[in-house]
């Protein structure tokens, strides 16, 4: 496995430059769930901001207390440092109390001179949630229309929805084929996370190329589930592979919990809402503990995972509440687990490496 296993595809910066060169607008989108098809239908390129790694977070210190997670601190620092200056608007889905604070801070105090679009992702379930979210997406559409100066027709929006659904289908296929792909963990996540910024058709092409390289069998490493907010720092995968483990089951909020299913019907608003709420049980949406347990057990069965690694962001409350009961239930089913805390913007701590090594020994 080497970097050559991955087809060449553009970086974030290249995609942004290309889009801007054609007069397009760019939205910097913060975690977690957002209506991709909506932005695209307006000709806006959504580029997600998860941290990002390498950001100097000290800039955020002027607005955020020390007990705020690295994702929010990194996101704010990213904006303050001017690295998000290419963005024409900022989109802030409500994922937790901290992203709520970030959205509010940007809107009320930081005011980076660009439109700020925070919105609330429902925690309720069922038709009432879909109906609310469809209307919330409609509210966002009105705001984007005033920024862009025009609106897509419902038919154009529906077309964008279909294209996104196709890209989501390819993303799911990549995850399903994961054990048979000749990619390292780093390579795999570089590919699937291209969904965070690549235009959907480009992503479909990339996925098709990668899927064509799938072999018949998995490598001989012991499969484990990786869970948490996001697969950063990426040394996680190097370490796993070095100690004979492979991340076969993905339960990261950023990736595995965003394998959306297509919505139904011809109403594009409702269809986007249905799809946005169709991901795997996600702590940030406040799902039941049992739903998390059932999902992880299903993932373990499907991948043959022998253990789960909860690779958590320090100060991430949504994730931390679930851990004791979920881990206990996994243990009862013979699935070992460890929980480690990281700052996704910093290198993997030695102590985490040691714990991963110890886990591998117990599984050997």
């Amino acid at each position: 496995m080497s970097v050559d296993s991955v087809p060449v595809f553009p970086t974030r910066r290249q995609v942004i430059a290309e889009h801007k060169a054609h007069g397009g607008r760019v939205a910097a989108v913060f975690p977690v769930h957002h209506p991709r098809a909506l932005w695209r239908a307006f000709g806006v390129l959504p580029v997600e901001v998860w941290g990002p790694p390498g950001t100097d977070t000290t800039l955020g210190d002027g607005h955020l207390q020390a007990y705020t997670c690295g994702i929010v601190r990194g996101g704010l620092s990213f904006v303050l440092s001017g690295q998000a200056d290419d963005a024409d608007l900022f989109v802030l889905p409500h994922a937790c109390d901290s992203t709520q604070g970030l959205g509010s801070l940007l809107l009320d105090f930081v005011r980076p001179g660009k439109p700020i679009l925070p919105f609330y992702v429902p925690r309720a379930e069922g038709p009432v949630a879909v109906e609310y979210l469809a209307r919330e997406i409609g509210r966002l559409a009105d705001k984007v229309a005033t920024i862009v100066g025009s609106s897509p027709t419902d038919a154009e929006l529906l077309e964008a929805v279909h294209v996104e659904e196709a890209a989501d289908g390819r993303l799911r296929a990549l995850h399903q084929a994961r054990p048979r792909l000749p990619l390292s963990g780093r390579e795999f996540y570089r590919v699937v996370r291209a969904r965070e910024y690549l235009p959907p058709l480009a992503f479909v092409e990339l996925a098709a190329e990668v899927l064509a390289s799938a072999g018949d069998r998995a490598d001989g490493r012991t499969p484990v589930i990786v869970s948490g907010m996001l697969p950063e720092p990426m040394e996680l995968f190097d370490t796993l592979e070095r100690v004979g483990l492979t991340a076969a089951g993905d339960d990261f909020t950023c990736t595995g919990r965003r394998l959306y299913h297509p919505g139904t019907g011809d109403d594009p608003w409702s269809r986007i809402a249905q799809s946005m709420l169709s991901g795997a049980p996600d702590a940030t949406r406040g799902v039941s503990v049992q739903a998390r347990i059932d999902h992880l057990l299903g993932l373990a069965r499907a991948t043959g995972a022998k253990a789960a690694i909860f690779h958590e962001v320090k100060f991430c409350e949504p994730e931390a509440y679930y851990l004791p009961q979920v881990r206990k239930a996994l243990e009862a089913e013979g699935i070992r687990s460890i929980a480690v805390e990281v700052n996704p913007l910093e290198p993997l701590p030695d102590q985490v490496v040691t714990r991963l090594e110890a886990l591998a020994e117990t599984l050997a």
Binding site: E131, G286, E317
Partner: protein, 441 residues
């Protein structure tokens, strides 16, 4: 409900308990009237309503102790639409209030330790950790907590409560009713109100199935009317802090707020606040300040540091500083106007969308701005509560705006509402002393 359970409830709560608690109150009241009862150098005597408050709270937890077997029990978040569940006859228990009681009684750290031993991170809200500790160990300073039949979680104070309640629901294997309230970055839109309204209707249906009876409209109107009355009286109690000297401080209010949170909708709660208000008016008439030599006035932002209410109150009083208002206690008074007892369900959707904690950081600054003006204060203490991100994020900018726009010095005080390990007495004294010098106290 068995006959034995019911007899036990009546005997322990309405006969023995009631008599004992009344006797205890009378004794306390008697003591308070004795000469030489109060000798504090800087603080006025406690309010005469205080023994009644103690009786109300003790009776509430006593009812809770024997509630299983007597009726259905709902555990609710502090921002949940309690009126619906009170009207349906549930015994309402508020785990956050229980957490606060544990903080005041200084057992929060011990209980939190049980939760941490079970794997709950120390970074979680200390109310949740305290209550998880009580849930896992069965220990509580209130005797015994009733097992819930249902959990009612409203996200209008934070998302944390939803994760917290999911843990409790899994532990007790009980249903969780969620009232999901979109966070108001700006104003409430019609689809947000409709979303909450529909959930309230579904919540009533689910609660009716659990309790085995239908919600009586007249009963709901009655409970809502009492709730509104209590909240209005509470708002007036708070407004008395505008007087010079203030007859009540936010430290007192932190304690006196318990009934408006956990017993609103009850006649005795209305009576209680009417009594307290009359006493405050009497103090105003006589010029009695809660701080004997009131020289400077401050506002407080965020939750109290429960285990240090007394310590902080004495420290400030010794410097002639009165804490005349707080955004926290104000939260239970500011929505009174939105409550419409004639249309309880419709108004509930609007009311429960608008608590300060469900609104943006700019709105909170506006509340503080208004308080600075109305209460004539010289400074603000912003408690940066490690446990409570929804309340705390934004304070750094709010402090800056208070100072630059209004010329009001504001101190960011690092602590935690229920975890004493996040409170350094030495550091807090030093920072407070320096701040008090700035405001001339």
């Amino acid at each position: 409900m068995t006959l034995t359970d019911e007899l036990r409830y009546q005997a322990n709560v309405n006969v023995l308990g009631a008599v004992f608690l009344r006797f205890e109150r009378l004794q306390l009241e008697w003591k308070m009237h004795e000469k030489g009862f109060w000798k504090h150098e800087h603080l006025a005597p406690p309010h005469f309503a205080a023994p009644r408050l103690k009786e109300l709270i003790s009776k509430h937890y006593l009812k809770g102790r024997y509630a299983n077997g007597h009726g259905k029990v709902a555990w609710l978040t502090s921002g949940a639409p309690a009126e619906l569940f009170t009207a349906l006859g549930f015994f309402p228990l508020f785990p956050e209030n229980h957490g606060a009681v544990c903080g005041i009684r200084r057992v929060a750290e011990k209980l939190s330790g049980y939760a941490e031993d079970a794997g709950y991170s120390r970074d979680l809200c200390s109310y949740a950790r305290t209550d998880f500790g009580a849930m896992l160990s069965g220990e509580t300073p209130v005797g015994k907590l009733p097992r819930p039949d249902v959990l009612v979680c409203c996200t209008n104070i934070c998302q944390t409560v939803l994760h917290w309640y999911q843990v409790v629901a899994h532990h007790y294997k009980v249903p969780l009713i969620l009232i999901d309230t979109p966070f108001l970055y700006e104003q409430a839109e019609p689809h947000m109100v409709a979303f909450v309204e529909k959930q309230l209707e579904a919540a009533v249906e689910q609660a009716e199935r659990i309790v085995g009876k239908s919600l009586s409209e007249p009963r709901l109107r009655e409970v809502t009317a009492r709730s509104k009355e209590a909240v209005e009286l509470w708002a007036q109690v708070l407004a008395r802090g505008k007087h010079h000297p203030a007859p009540i401080t936010a430290f007192d209010e932190f304690i006196h707020m318990a009934p408006v949170v956990e017993m609103r909708g009850e006649a005795f709660t209305v009576e209680y606040y009417a009594t307290l208000l009359a006493e405050l008016d009497d103090r105003v008439a006589k010029g009695i300040g809660a701080v004997k030599q009131e020289k400077r006035r401050l506002i407080w932002d965020n939750l109290p540091v429960w285990g240090r209410v007394r310590w902080l109150s004495e420290l400030l009083a010794a410097r002639g500083v009165s804490l005349v208002a707080s955004t926290y206690t104000n939260a239970w008074g500011e929505l009174a106007a939105l409550v419409d007892p004639e249309h309880p369900m419709k108004s509930a959707a609007n009311v429960y969308l608008h608590p300060i904690l469900n609104r943006g950081t700019g709105y909170k600054l506006d509340v503080m701005r208004t308080m600075v003006r109305d209460y004539d204060v010289q400074g603000a203490i912003l408690h940066s509560d490690r446990s409570c991100k929804p309340y705390s994020i934004g304070q750094i900018d709010q402090r800056e705006k208070l100072a630059t726009e209004l010329g009001v010095p504001a101190l960011l005080l690092e602590a935690d509402h229920n975890d004493p390990r996040a409170f350094s007495e030495e550091q807090v004294s030093t920072r407070l002393s320096a701040f008090l010098e700035v405001i001339g106290a």
